[in-house]
Symmetry: C2
Subunit: 261 residues, 2 copies
């Protein structure tokens, strides 16, 4: 099943996508809910980030080949994270499929996409094993961990490098069935030109390892989400570019880039 959030008049609503239509649902996807009689063509609705999480978790550096390539470029031996130490992103930055990534005037040209698988939690969990961790996932969606690299290197934290408004496009929807988070292909295109792809089998720590380790210290609740990190070396995005991130079994998240004048 595909769950989305969309602009329904002046309110956001959850919806289920069936064929070419969005059926408005009252209530919440991971709790009590019921279908309404409101159905709208998918192509006519403005999709929003499919969830605004209580806590927004992000894996950060999480691919073996990516770590190795970066280390070799610096003439060093790679050093892998010893544990699934999760990081954070911020809700203010979330935006939906089709909405523009708006770049502040003072950003530099080292402005890049990072295509990522996103796991959305469906049930409260604490102290879960790796074997049972995926049972607590409601479904999967796509995130673009947009990053301004000059700020990322120069600032004390990642706050504006990663969390400026609109720097976290997510969507187009949450797919609850048929996604294999440990073996699915992630493909990135710029302006319709394929630029790179990687498989989720290349993670250092997978969704189950993160959820299990996180849940030893903290309670995950429905609607929390975990962005899984990215592989490969991204290209820069320019004003007017359109960045598409496709994940096998989910769909394609597409966002135009719009530099502030």
């Amino acid at each position: 099943m595909r769950w989305c959030r969309f602009q329904n008049g002046d309110q956001p609503s959850y919806g289920i996508i069936e064929g070419d239509n969005v059926i408005e649902v009252s209530g919440i996807p991971w709790g009590e809910h019921s279908r309404t009689s409101n159905s709208q063509p998918l192509e006519s609705v403005k999709l929003l980030a499919p969830v605004i999480p209580p806590t927004f978790y992000a894996a950060g550096i999480n691919f073996r080949e990516h770590v190795t390539e970066m280390a070799h470029a610096r003439g060093e031996e790679p050093s892998f994270p010893p544990a699934a130490d999760v990081g954070y992103r911020a809700n203010n930055a979330l935006t939906g499929h089709g909405s523009p990534i708006i770049v502040p005037k003072d950003a530099t040209e080292v402005f890049q996409y990072e295509g990522e698988l996103v796991a959305v939690i469906g049930r409260q969990c604490k102290n879960v094993s790796e074997a049972e961790a995926l049972d607590y996932v409601f479904g999967y969606t796509i995130g673009n961990d947009v990053s301004e690299r000059t700020w990322q290197r120069g600032d004390r934290t990642l706050w504006r490098a990663k969390n400026t408004d609109t720097f976290k496009p997510m969507g187009p929807w949450i797919e609850t069935e048929g996604v294999d988070p440990e073996n699915c292909e992630v493909s990135i295109s710029l302006n319709g030109r394929f630029v790179s792809s990687y498989n989720m089998s290349g993670t250092i720590f997978g969704v189950r390892e993160f959820i299990s380790r996180m849940s030893r210290y903290l309670t995950l609740v429905p609607g929390d989400m975990l962005w899984m990190g990215t592989d490969g070396a991204p290209e820069n995005m320019k004003d007017g570019d359109v960045c598409d991130i496709a994940i096998e079994g989910i769909g394609t998240l597409s966002n135009p880039v719009q530099w502030e004048k």
Copy 2:
């Protein structure tokens, strides 16, 4: 006016504190709301963290004397942050006045409080000047940025060092009047014994500098909050200790420490 959140049967409710009573309020403090006829003695209610923010901002290292002392202890010259680069904490860790700080079995004895002033945003803002920044603050409360220092040094991020469940006590309420965020005294006691105090005049960047700089890149929304960092060298907290943080014009946040057996 003092706003709180409290456990009202099986639901959380906002309330206004008048004298020794909590008046339940329907709606939200920074939007439409109305008083109800439900009044309960303050001493009989369980206070919750006074807000669950859309985004939880934290200043981190933000006091000149603190930076200087730490640098001198390492035999180095102090290096001050050049800009108000904000960081983050996580909502899962929030807990209210009076609730226990629960310490995982595998935590080390270097387990410490950090008493902090917290500013809660009341109105949406983007691109505000330092002169007008404080107009967007709804009120002030108290936070204890509880930290496990071994994890803080060893892990790749601050996730469990700072954000294990119950590591972010906050409250007891939000005070909307009479707090001077640039000149108020913060005092910390352990088991009723005064341990240290500092004044908010010692910040490197104040509330207005943070809000103004943050708002150049991101939209602050009602309920967002900013923890302002701490000064001084904290002591360790042991099983059974009670940590009190008092801020002039607000009140005292008090929480017992309970080590998991």
